[in-house]
């Protein structure tokens, strides 16, 4: 039942919102992974980000993709938890670590070992609309643990205008999705994060974004 609802959610509601209400301008669609395991890394401005990324994949991959999301936020009540876990299909992780032995990334390790495609927002939270914040270290740990798994940087633009943090009213804009070249673990956390950020900034130069302030 939940699976059917999930399919309907993504193939009807999400498709309608993403393709008709918003409208996407996707560049380099061919660089998307055809199968798991893979890690999609995107900048995060809106709840719509996940919906847009999920909409890029064919139905056959729907069951393999999991957006990694904060447990404290999405599991804060039962209805939201049901929606987040069963319909959206998030992989919940803890944002705060209680003790040293607690590794919040363990569920991600497991998912990647199971050939999943993970969606990760290394800025940690949606933050200020249309601004790139600093990346957290989790993505580097994942890449280190799985050096053969491709990390695909994806730049999203416009979704923070359509539905920014703290707003409930969706205002239509055409949105840009630029997909970068897959990259792998560089052997060093600092250079890896740096390289990832660079490729995001590189992708940003491909577009011509109108002012919004």
């Amino acid at each position: 039942m939940n699976q059917l609802l999930r399919l309907l959610f993504y193939k009807v509601i999400v498709k309608f919102v993403v393709l008709i209400v918003l409208g996407l301008n996707v560049r380099h669609r061919e660089k998307l992974p055809k199968q798991g395991p893979a890690i999609l890394v995107a900048n995060h401005n809106s709840h719509l980000d996940t919906m847009v990324l999920m909409s890029l994949f064919p139905t056959r991959l729907l069951a393999t993709i999991q957006p990694v999301a904060a447990m404290d936020y999405f599991l804060r009540n039962r209805l939201l938890a049901w929606f987040a876990l069963k319909i959206v299909g998030i992989l919940p992780i803890k944002r705060t670590i209680k003790n040293r032995h607690d590794n919040p990334l363990l569920p991600c390790y497991e998912a990647l070992a199971n050939q999943r495609i993970l969606i990760l927002f290394p800025e940690g939270s949606r933050g200020e609309p249309e601004k790139l914040a600093n990346f957290k270290g989790g993505i580097a740990k994942l890449a280190e643990q799985f050096p053969d798994v491709p990390v695909i940087p994806i730049l999203l633009h416009g979704l923070g205008k359509s539905l920014p943090k703290g707003e409930a009213l969706l205002v239509p804009f055409f949105c840009d999705v630029f997909i970068g070249d897959p990259m792998f673990w560089t052997g060093n956390k600092k250079t890896f994060i740096q390289k990832l950020k660079q490729s995001m900034e590189q992708l940003a130069t491909e577009g011509q974004f109108s002012a919004w302030d």
Binding site: P164, L169, V171, P172, F174, Q208, A211, W212
Partner: protein, 313 residues
């Protein structure tokens, strides 16, 4: 299946339209075989997009009156969305943009109930006065005038002007003119788009003297005049099929469509140049965005509408 009773002449015109598309596709296939050294990717994409556009347009026109109106409303929505996505907007105006979008269903609803009096003033008067009021309530004064101006310009061109196409459609058949609104829309849209293409082709063949180099460096006097001539001849040939216009008035209609179509085209070019984008979007491969395709219609639709409305309704 076909809910609107379609006049024979309209159907034959549609057949002719598909004939042109088939010929265009054949010419490209022929060119690809014989003159292989050039790349025809863009031309092929363009013609492919034309096939899609003509088919969607035909279906929208023939299925039912309300589907046709929703189709035009949707075109306005896409165009306005494209416009709002490329112009600079203010964060504070997010909700204002939402109100602006809301003008679209209302405007097209007014068309569907044929309330001409309100249709013709709703956006120029009521929306024009309402949006700045709503902006003042939010209270951001920085760039206020710029924001109010760009918003209203978009609504006037992409919703108000374009909705005249829809109003043409609901004009009733006359005693000696059975093609009705569908005929008028077909006449206007076909001539406007044909004029674009023929100005381009004439310009490519003979173009020498630039007509408006600061805005559109590729446009030439030869292209412009060639387009005006061809479009006007075609207008005279088609007017008997699709409109109630007399011979003289058909010439006038051809001149209105070809000259003002050119103006609409270069005005959108000027806007894009101002913003600094080449194409307004990438919805139509080979053409660019929807604004790039309907640019001429933003001028020809209201002007042709009032021309025919004054003469015959």
């Amino acid at each position: 299946m076909i809910a609107i009773s379609v006049d024979d002449k309209v159907l034959w015109s549609l057949v002719g339209l598909y004939g042109i598309l088939i010929i265009a596709s054949l010419i490209i296939a022929f060119l690809k075989k014989t003159v292989a050294e050039k790349s025809y990717t863009e031309l092929t994409q363009r013609v492919k997009s034309w096939w899609v556009m003509v088919t969607v347009f035909t279906l929208a026109m023939l299925l039912s009156r309300n589907i046709s109106l929703m189709f035009f409303g949707f075109i306005s929505f896409l165009a306005l969305k494209e416009y709002f996505s490329i112009i600079p907007t203010r964060r504070a105006d997010r909700r204002i943009l939402f109100w602006a979008y809301l003008a679209i269903p209302i405007q097209y609803y007014l068309v569907s109930i044929e309330w001409y009096g309100l249709f013709i003033i709703f956006i120029p008067v009521y929306v024009f006065l309402f949006l700045p009021m709503r902006m003042v309530i939010i209270g951001e004064t920085k760039n206020f005038l710029h924001a109010a101006g760009t918003l209203h310009w978009g609504l006037m061109t992409l919703v108000f002007s374009m909705s005249h196409l829809a109003y043409l459609l609901v004009l009733p058949p006359l005693d000696n003119f059975k093609a009705g609104g569908v005929g008028l829309v077909l006449f206007l849209v076909f001539l406007t788009q044909f004029n674009d293409v023929s100005q381009y082709v004439w310009g490519k063949m003979l173009g020498k003297y630039k007509i408006i180099p600061k805005v559109s460096p590729n446009k030439t006097w030869e292209g412009f005049l060639g387009g005006v001539l061809t479009t006007t001849i075609l207008s005279v040939l088609l007017a008997g099929l699709l409109t109630p216009l007399s011979f003289k008035m058909a010439i006038a209609a051809g001149l209105i469509i070809s000259i003002t179509g050119f103006i609409g085209d270069v005005i959108i070019s000027a806007v894009k140049r101002d913003i600094g984008v080449k194409d307004s979007g990438n919805l139509l491969p080979g053409h660019g965005g929807i604004l790039d395709r309907i640019d001429s219609l933003t001028y020809t639709a209201p002007l042709f509408f009032h021309f025919i409305y004054y003469l015959h309704y």
